[in-house]
C-alpha cells in the first residue's frame, strides 16, 4: 500500500492534477491503507492545518499587498525612486530593482510587486528603447524580492511549518534582501552600458521634491510594520491588519485612488490568492504526516549521521534539490520538502532561520526556472512578452540569484547576524 500510495502521488503530481489533491490523495492512501487510520483524518487535517493565528497573517498581508497596488502607494514610491536612480546608466532597470525591494517591503509577495513596479516602469523601459525580453526579465527577477524582503508570505508559511519565529525570519530577510538588490543591479548596469540604453528623462529638483513628499506615506508603511513587530507593539498577524488599515486610509484619503469597488475587488482577489495557498498547505500537512508515519525523515536523518555529511554539504545538496524541484513546482508547493528534511536539519544543528532564508531564495529561483516558471509566465501575460524572450532576459539575473544562494549557504551570518543582534 505504501508503494501504491507513492505511485498514485507521483502519477497525479506529474500528470497535472492540482497539487493539493495529489498531496492529499497520496497522503490519505498511505495513512488509511498502510497505517490503518480512519478516513475522517482528511476532515481533521483539512481544518486543523490552517486553523492558526500565525497563518492568519497570510490573508492579511495578501490583502495589504492588493490594497497597496490599488491605492497608488506603490506607484508613488516607484516615481520617487526612479527620479533618483533613473539618470545613471541602466537607470530604469536599476529603478525597477530598487523599487521592487521597497515595494516588497509593503506587499509581502511577488505578484503585487510586479503589478506596482511593472505598470510604471515597463512603459518607461519601452520608451527608452529597452528590448522587451530584457525589460520583462528585469521586472520578473526583481519582483521576486517581494518573497525575501519582509513582510514575506513565504516566511510566514515556513515559520509556521518549522516552528520558527516569524518576527526573527522577517528581520533575517533584510540583509540578504538588500544584498540581493545590490547584486541584481550589477548585471543591469553592465547590460545597459553594453547596449547603450538611455537614462530616464531628467526630473526637476522641484518635481523630485514633490515626488518624495508624495512617497512619504508609502515609506512609513514598512517602518510601521517592522517597527511594530520589533518593538513588541504587535505580532506579525496584527501588523498585517494594521498594514491593511493603513493602506486603506492612505489610499482613500491621501492618494484618493481607493473606491468601494477597488476595495471589494482587492478583498476578493486576496481571498482567492490566499485560498490557493492555504488549501495547498492542507495537502502538504497531510502528506507530511504520512511521510512522518512511514519514517522517511528519520531515514534521511540516519543517512546524514552515518554518512558523515556536514551541515554545509547538506545545505548545498538541499539547495540543488530546491532548484530542481523549483523547475517543476511552485514555491508554495516546495514547502512539502520541509517536514522531510527537518529531523536531519536538527541533527546537523543547522539554524532554522538560516535555512529559512536559503529556502526563500531557492523558491525565488524556482519560480523563474522553466518549465514550471510561474513568475515568467505571469510577467509574459501581464506585459504581452513571449516566454522565450523573458527567459533570455531573466538569465543574467537568475545566475546572480544562484550565486547569491550559495553565498548565503556558505556565510550564514548574512542571514543570522541581524536577528541575533536584535533579539539576542
Amino acid at each position: 500500500m505504501l508503494v501504491f500510495g507513492t505511485v498514485v502521488f507521483a502519477v497525479l503530481l506529474v500528470s497535472g492534477v492540482p497539487i493539493f489533491m495529489a498531496f492529499a490523495l497520496g497522503g490519505l492512501i498511505i495513512i488509511t491503507m498502510h497505517m490503518g487510520l480512519p478516513l475522517y483524518n482528511i476532515g481533521i487535517f483539512f481544518f486543523d492545518s490552517i486553523d492558526s493565528w500565525i497563518m492568519l497573517a497570510v490573508p492579511l498581508f495578501m490583502l495589504a499587498g492588493q490594497l497597496m497596488v490599488e491605492s497608488g502607494m506603490g506607484k508613488a514610491l516607484v516615481d520617487a525612486l526612479s527620479g533618483f536612480i533613473g539618470r545613471v546608466p541602466g537607470g530604469i532597470a536599476i529603478s525597477a530593482i530598487v523599487a521592487s525591494a521597497f515595494v516588497g517591503a509593503l506587499a509581502g509577495q511577488n505578484l503585487a510587486v510586479l503589478g506596482s513596479v511593472g505598470v510604471v516602469l515597463f512603459p518607461a523601459m519601452m520608451a527608452a528603447k529597452y528590448d522587451r525580453g530584457y525589460s520583462g526579465g528585469v521586472l520578473c527577477a526583481s519582483s521576486q524580492l517581494g518573497f525575501l524582503i519582509p513582510p514575506s508570505v513565504v516566511f510566514i508559511i515556513y515559520g509556521y511549518l518549522t516552528q520558527t519565529s516569524v518576527a526573527k525570519l522577517f528581520i533575517a530577510g533584510i540583509i540578504p534582501g538588500i544584498l540581493l538588490t545590490v547584486l541584481l543591479s550589477i548585471p543591469a548596469i553592465i547590460i545597459a552600458r553594453r547596449r547603450q540604453f538611455p537614462p530616464m528623462p531628467r526630473v526637476s529638483r522641484q518635481e523630485q521634491k514633490s515626488r518624495i513628499i508624495r512617497a512619504i506615506p508609502s515609506i512609513m508603511m514598512p517602518i510601521i510594520i517592522l517597527g511594530g513587530i520589533y518593538g513588541g507593539v504587535f505580532t506579525p498577524t496584527e501588523a498585517a491588519s494594521v498594514a491593511c488599515v493603513y493602506a486603506l486610509i492612505i489610499g482613500a484619503f491621501v492618494y484618493r485612488q481607493l473606491t468601494w469597488k477597488t476595495i471589494w475587488a482587492s478583498a476578493i482577489e486576496a481571498a482567492r490568492l490566499t485560498s490557493i495557498i492555504l488549501i495547498l498547505f492542507c495537502g502538504v500537512m497531510l502528506l507530511g504526516r504520512a511521510i512522518n508515519i512511514i519514517g522517511l525523515p528519520q531515514v534521511i536523518g540516519n543517512w546524514v549521521v552515518s554518512g558523515g555529511v556536514t551541515a554545509t554539504v547538506f545545505l548545498v545538496l538541499l539547495c540543488v534539490a530546491f532548484i530542481v524541484l523549483g523547475m517543476i513546482m511552485d514555491a508554495f508547493a516546495m514547502v512539502a520538502v520541509l517536514p522531510v528534511v527537518m529531523p536531519a536539519v536538527q541533527v546537523l544543528g543547522v539554524n532554522t532561520i538560516h535555512l529559512g532564508v536559503i529556502f526563500v531564495v531557492a523558491s525565488m529561483i524556482g519560480t523563474m526556472t522553466p518549465p514550471a516558471a510561474a513568475a515568467i509566465y505571469f510577467t509574459g501575460s501581464m506585459f504581452s512578452i513571449p516566454t522565450t524572450e523573458i527567459i533570455r532576459g531573466v538569465l543574467p539575473f537568475l545566475v546572480i540569484m544562484i550565486i547569491s544562494l550559495f553565498i548565503f549557504v556558505f556565510i550564514p551570518d548574512i542571514a543570522t547576524w541581524l536577528p541575533k543582534t536584535m533579539f539576542g
Binding site: L12, L13, V14, S15, G16, V17, P18, I19, F20, M21, A24, L25, L28, P38, L39, Y40, N41, I42, G43, I44, F46, F47, I50, D51, S52, W53, M55, L56, P59, L60, L63, V233, F234, T237, E238, A240, S241, V242, C244, V245, I263, W264, A267, I268, A270, A271, R272, T274, S275, I276, L278, I279, L280, I328, M329, D330, F332, A333, P371, A372
Partner: protein
C-alpha cells in the same frame, strides 16, 4: 445541465462575495483587537479563534470557485504539451479525480463533524459557538468542489460527444 450551471453561477457569486466579506471582517476584527488592547487596555480571547475560523471558512468558500476557473496550482507541463484532442480527455480524468477527492472531503469532513457534534465540544476561548458548526466548512467545501467538478465533467462530456460526431 442548465439547472446545474445556474445553481453553480449562484454558488460562485455567493462564495466570492462571502470570501471577500470574510477577509474584510478578519481585518477589522484583528485591527479592533489591537486598538482595544492599546487604547482600552482590553484583550479579547475570542478574537484569535474566531478570526482563524473565518480564514478557514474563507478558504472553503473559494475552494470550488478556484476549481471552476482551473486556477489551483498544478504542474501543468504535460497537459500543455499534449495535442488538443488528448487534452480534453486528460482534463476529464482530472475532473473525475477532483470529484472523488470532493466526495472524500465531504465524507471525511461529515464523519468527523458528526463525532464532534456527538461529543458536544466547544473551544475553550469561544463558549458560544459549538465546534461542529465551525468545522462544517470542510464538508461544505467538498460539496462546492463536487458541484463545480460535475459541471466541468458535463462540459467535457458534451465537448467529447460533439467532437466524436464531427470526426467520422
Amino acid at each position: 445541465m442548465c439547472k446545474l450551471a445556474a445553481v453553480n453561477r449562484v454558488i460562485n457569486t455567493f462564495c466570492r462575495c462571502a470570501a471577500g466579506a470574510v477577509i474584510l471582517i478578519i481585518m477589522l476584527l484583528v485591527f479592533a483587537e489591537v486598538i482595544s488592547r492599546y487604547i482600552l487596555g482590553l484583550s479579547h480571547e475570542f478574537v484569535p479563534a474566531i478570526s482563524s475560523w473565518c480564514m478557514v471558512w474563507m478558504t472553503y468558500f473559494m475552494l470550488g470557485v478556484i476549481h471552476k476557473a482551473r486556477q489551483h496550482i498544478s504542474i501543468d507541463i504535460l497537459p500543455n504539451r499534449l495535442p488538443l484532442q488528448y487534452r480534453t480527455p486528460l482534463l476529464t480524468l482530472f475532473d473525475v479525480i477532483s470529484l472523488i477527492f470532493a466526495i472524500l472531503l465531504c465524507y471525511g469532513g461529515t464523519i468527523y463533524d458528526l463525532m464532534v457534534r456527538q461529543s458536544d465540544i466547544y473551544a475553550v476561548t469561544v463558549q458560544f459557538i459549538p465546534m461542529w458548526i465551525v468545522r462544517i466548512c470542510v464538508p461544505l467545501g467538498g460539496v462546492f468542489l463536487a458541484l463545480f467538478s460535475c459541471e466541468h465533467l458535463i462540459n467535457d462530456a458534451r465537448y467529447l460527444i460533439k467532437r466524436t460526431k464531427v470526426e467520422p
